[in-house]
Symmetry: C2
Subunit: 210 residues, 2 copies
Amino acid sequence: MKKNIPEKSIERLSQYRRTLLNFLKNNKVNIYSHELAAAMHITSVQVRRDLMLIGYSGSQSKGYDISDLVSHIAEILDDEKGQNVAVIGVGNMGRAITSYLTGRRPKLNIVALFDIDNEKVNRMISGVYCYHIEKLEEIFKKENIKVAILTVPADASQQMATKLVIAGVKGILNYTPVPLKVSSSVFIAEYDIITSLEKVAYYAKNNNHI
Amino acid sequence: MKKNIPEKSIERLSQYRRTLLNFLKNNKVNIYSHELAAAMHITSVQVRRDLMLIGYSGSQSKGYDISDLVSHIAEILDDEKGQNVAVIGVGNMGRAITSYLTGRRPKLNIVALFDIDNEKVNRMISGVYCYHIEKLEEIFKKENIKVAILTVPADASQQMATKLVIAGVKGILNYTPVPLKVSSSVFIAEYDIITSLEKVAYYAKNNNHI
DNA sequence: GGGTGTGAAGCCGTTCACAGCA
DNA sequence: TGCTGTGAACGGCTTCACACCC
């Protein structure tokens, strides 16, 4: 739609918003780029660049109007009507993510869980109804779900991703250790925990970063 | 220590290893860069670059010797004696990560959990002993822990990070939504779930990637 | 002086294009 | 021909440096 905003900037916008909401809670009204930068441990130029990218301007005397900026960010990140999200795979990780996320972002609602285990299917789990995977396409259509969080065992991962694409998913958050292959029109974010931990362990061991 | 390997390459090395172990399990002995690339959905040049970076050479006729390459990667990623890991914050996420990771990588052992809740302290949880946070420095020294996974509530996050640094941590995997400020000698990987989900939701909504 | 906004430079990781070898 | 290995080009994100304004 609008001009392309780089992935890194989108991530920071999400964090800016949360940081700004905290400032708002403490009754702060305006903020300078260097103040926001300090709260996030980045540079003020980075902040101004990102805001430039989204076409937001401040004033030289007062910096940025916090609540106005929050609305601007919301216009970019949020869907006006909200977006429904499904969690695929109700193991420990799926449940933890579900309960962590529910109620955290008003425009992102986890509306369905999916699993194959009959012990889990057709019950409320962590406050959300769990369907059998057979129902995936049906429920995705009915609830207009475009975003899925994938937390199934590795050997089911690619197969589930394919089902998701058929069901019309547009974005997948992949916590599985399997790199997914899907149509390029589907956005995938890979957050495999083993890889993350091995990376941290590597740098912890070598101190090669700086 | 050795020449600097970029973060992205380290992540891919972790994934190469797992992919290669799968090939080994199927009794494959040699592999071409394009085969490994196909399994990971990346380009063969990328694979060869990464291997060049770690100083590994193949043969033009047979490609790379899988088990030899696995050992080379292990030499880079793993600590010979293994590394001990702690999980800080035993909520749903902390427990899920603990049970997900235990036994998954032979050289990375989760040896301690920490919490403040007396219901959790001094018990085995998900197969690992949970200590009170007061004991953090003591246990970190005793078990030589250099890697921590942070899954505490947001308002405790920075304070815990500071304690971790004092206790001698060298790498933190941060699942908290708070950007951490620590000494630059400590490596931090930020994997905030809200940010990840908001990013995926953004691209799902706009289809601006490609 | 201390802010914002931004062209230009710099840096880093990826990809191109091709040399060299079996 | 089909592979590996690699200098050079490319592209995207970050930082520098500075114009402009209160």
